[in-house]
Assembly symmetry: C2
Homo-oligomer: 495 residues x 2
């Protein structure tokens, strides 16, 4: 084996970044799940200091030379994959001048902070005052990232979340979806209108909900020796691969929200808990991308969570948690979970109408970043697209319209497509599993979930960022992203 001193030095730097990032991730989780309100200013200052420190480490002038020298060394395939991810991380950190990074942070946190009260107040005009600067900074950032990557501006922003995905490809994928989704929604709604449905009777005590969520997380293989479940306003999966911090939220009048939200986050959590340990600390050992990450949460929430066999396993747990009710009969519980109803709020959407929310946002944010529209144009576009895609009137309701998501407030343009790409990948993974295991649905109905987890572990979790998303998909399922599986899944489940 030849010596690889430059490569070795890079891995040491990235191990240090990983260790310090651990403290950053923990503080982020704590801020959302545990921190008392008066701690916020000190926490923000501490996190900002750490962000600056990590940025300095990533923009150390010596790194460029180190990467160039490492690329001349005799590296194994694995090392070369890691170096590819190191270069990617380095490029992203070094593409932007410090002044822009600071302006982005400032504009984003000002807009996000004001949005917290502007959203309940339905104050679109107030929001615009801050949001215009967020858009201006994002366009500058997009231009710089586009220059050094050769991508279009929007694609350059999306590349932060889903490397390799382009708007040309998205236009193809979503253009197709746009055709068949609205009529599918109509057909499903007609079919479901004829089905009997018994609603659950609350209240559902929070402690009982918490125990149920933990029981289901155990069924789903979450390792409580290497993670926790806590409560936060907006559920998320944070922490580090060695110690995954999941959150949920409880409402006494509805247990399905926390239960399915927990199933969703458990998918993220198991991906993180099963990233390859032998490479931990290196970019190659991180989750492949946000679309692949969402494909795990949606494999759990949608592919499993809406599976009639899995719901039949859940039903007795639900009954044990809250006492027997007609609504908890497995068939009825499944109808409750898979009920399709166009609504204003993305995070409350079912799996059939969800892509409409994503397409709408994608079309708006792409045009916004590319300079084809201005921030002021958003409400009119929103109203038109909601009517077109879901038949809903949203005029004047900014609160439940363009003000509903946190993503744009912080300039997170390019993230939304990952949700639907993840739903498509999830359907593709389960289609591949079924081809390889014809008895898959019988396993699930019997509560034998190990074959599902084994497949995901082998094909997704332990592969981390060893391959590009396309190559990961080819190795896992024999093809790159193919939306036909998602369409087939929805038709099979809902028609």
């Amino acid at each position: 084996m030849q010596a690889t001193p430059a490569y070795d030095a890079l891995t040491r730097t990235y191990t240090r970044l990983h260790h310090l990032g651990h403290l950053q991730a923990l503080a982020g989780w704590d801020q959302a799940a545990k921190m008392p309100p008066k701690g916020n200013a000190a926490r923000a200052a501490a996190l900002s200091e750490m962000a600056a420190l990590l940025h300095r480490m990533r923009t150390d002038p010596g790194l460029a030379d180190g990467i160039a020298r490492a690329e001349q060394e005799a590296l194994s395939d694995l090392q070369r994959a890691n170096l590819r991810e190191i270069r990617r991380d380095w490029q992203r950190a070094n593409a932007l001048p410090d002044s822009l990074v600071q302006r982005r942070q400032l504009a984003g946190s000002r807009c996000e902070h004001a949005w917290r009260t502007q959203r309940p107040a339905n104050d679109w005009d107030g929001f615009l005052q801050n949001f215009r600067e967020v858009v201006a900074v994002a366009r500058e950032e997009a231009a710089l990232l586009a220059d050094c990557s050769g991508l279009s501006r929007y694609d350059a922003l999306m590349d932060r979340f889903e490397p390799g995905m382009t708007s040309v490809e998205l236009d193809r994928l979503f253009g197709d979806l746009r055709q068949w989704l609205p009529p599918l929604i109509v057909r499903v709604r007609e079919r479901q209108a004829a089905q009997p449905l018994v609603l659950p009777q609350g209240p559902f005590p929070v402690e009982a909900q918490r125990r149920l969520c933990e029981q289901v997380m155990r069924l789903l293989g979450f390792d409580f020796e290497a993670g926790r479940l806590d409560v936060s306003t907006h559920p998320f999966c944070g922490g580090v691969p060695e110690d995954v911090r999941m959150t949920t939220r409880f409402a006494e009048d509805d247990f399905l929200g926390s239960l399915l939200g927990t199933v969703h986050e458990t998918g993220h959590g198991r991906y993180e808990q099963n990233l390859p340990r032998e490479w931990l600390g290196q970019p190659m050992a991180e989750a492949r991308s946000m679309a692949v990450h969402e494909s795990q949460s949606l494999s759990f929430e949608m592919q499993l969570g809406g599976h009639p066999g899995f719901v039949a396993c859940l039903a007795p747990m639900v009954e044990q948690a809250f006492g027997a009710q007609p609504a908890f009969e497995p068939g009825n519980l499944h109808r409750l979970i898979t009920r399709v109803k166009p609504g204003l709020i993305r995070v409350d959407a079912d799996e059939v109408t969800y892509p409409a929310h994503v397409i709408l946002r994608y079309e708006i944010e792409r045009a916004l970043v590319e300079g084809e529209i201005e921030a002021d144009d958003i409400p009119a576009l929103w109203d038109a697209k909601m009517m077109e895609l879901l038949g809903l009137d949203t005029r004047g309701n900014y609160r439940d319209g363009p003000l509903q998501d946190v993503h744009w407030t912080e300039g997170g343009f390019g993230y939304f497509p990952c949700y639907s790409l993840g739903a498509m990948f999830a359907a593709q993974w389960f289609a591949a599993m079924r081809r390889q295991m014809p008895e898959l649905d019988a396993h699930i109905a019997a509560g034998r979930l190990a074959p599902v987890f084994d497949w995901l572990r082998a094909h997704i979790w332990t592969q981390a960022s060893r391959w590009t998303t396309d190559e990961l998909a080819r190795r896992a399922s024999g093809e790159t992203l193919n939306p036909a599986h998602f369409k087939a899944h929805l038709e099979q489940r809902y028609l």
Copy 2:
């Protein structure tokens, strides 16, 4: 006002250290209170990386020059006090070579980790295998610190916790205590043996205990908007001044342990929450020393917690928490709280026998650091001193003997005296309060604690590290540490 560029640069460095130390403190709290077991290796690596980073910042060669130049600048009294603390912090960080810091960390964490199972197994010989290295490293450290400070070796270690305190002074203070304490214990025991005592009848549900503790913390002025109460194996007060993280532990068969432990930690917590905000981030804004810190926890736990007037305020809360019992009658509750009984375990000791535990440890650790005894000699000395001071036979019981504390496993020699110095200071603060406020005890009995907090805030909390401990004591109480107040307090309360 003259420009003070060198001083200003130092304050910026210390603000950065404060911000990064925030993340370190949070991760330490989380490790004890929230972290799942498999997260430990990654957390240890992250904390070690951060410790190394902070150490590099503190040992930056430019700092020495900066301090020297700042000392020539025209500084205000406050700035000069801050510079004194900066120099102190810098000296401590720069006195030890990196290799020794690493060996200390390694020896300490190895010994502490093995101790967790060696203690329950009563395995003194196994403990010795690791502990000898801890002692060897501590002696090297003591020698280096002694060289650069002019202190004796033990004093140089103690100086980390209580700057300015010496073993000559401790020998005087503890030598005095050693004379009057054993006969006092005998007299108190005789007196208490004649008093009726009704024991509380458990179980005491954990949720009710938690609510009681939070209620008492509110009575004691803890700001829950700037801190939390959680559970850990060993209660402590951590976090940062802006966000204090207190912990306690609950046992269903005993509520007094968690209640008084919480009162104790609340004293630490209020000190931290009331450090001066305008200087936060600078060494001058930190708590004066560990003896002064313990003087706050013991002002709360012993001066207030054992005060008959305060106990009369507690009694109805206890009754509300667990239902009425004869044991909760105020007089009986006070007798329970102030019951004196020599025991093997320091952390369970009452305020009268507690100093015996400290004196024993001080005498052993001083001799150990100075090289007058070896680690192997500890059990025999322990047995002799426990018999002499408390009349207890500890032969062969290492578990409840020299293996009971965590301090020595990590080389924390010099800390134990702070507990009894703190008890003495607490008595001195309350004596000063009574001189200035003759109606103090009536206030306390009426549940009016604000005068106590106002006094502590003005004289201790907001003074932070502006003065040396001696000067702080003089300004607060008119004299430096005077153990007569502690003796008078015990005699007044227990005879």
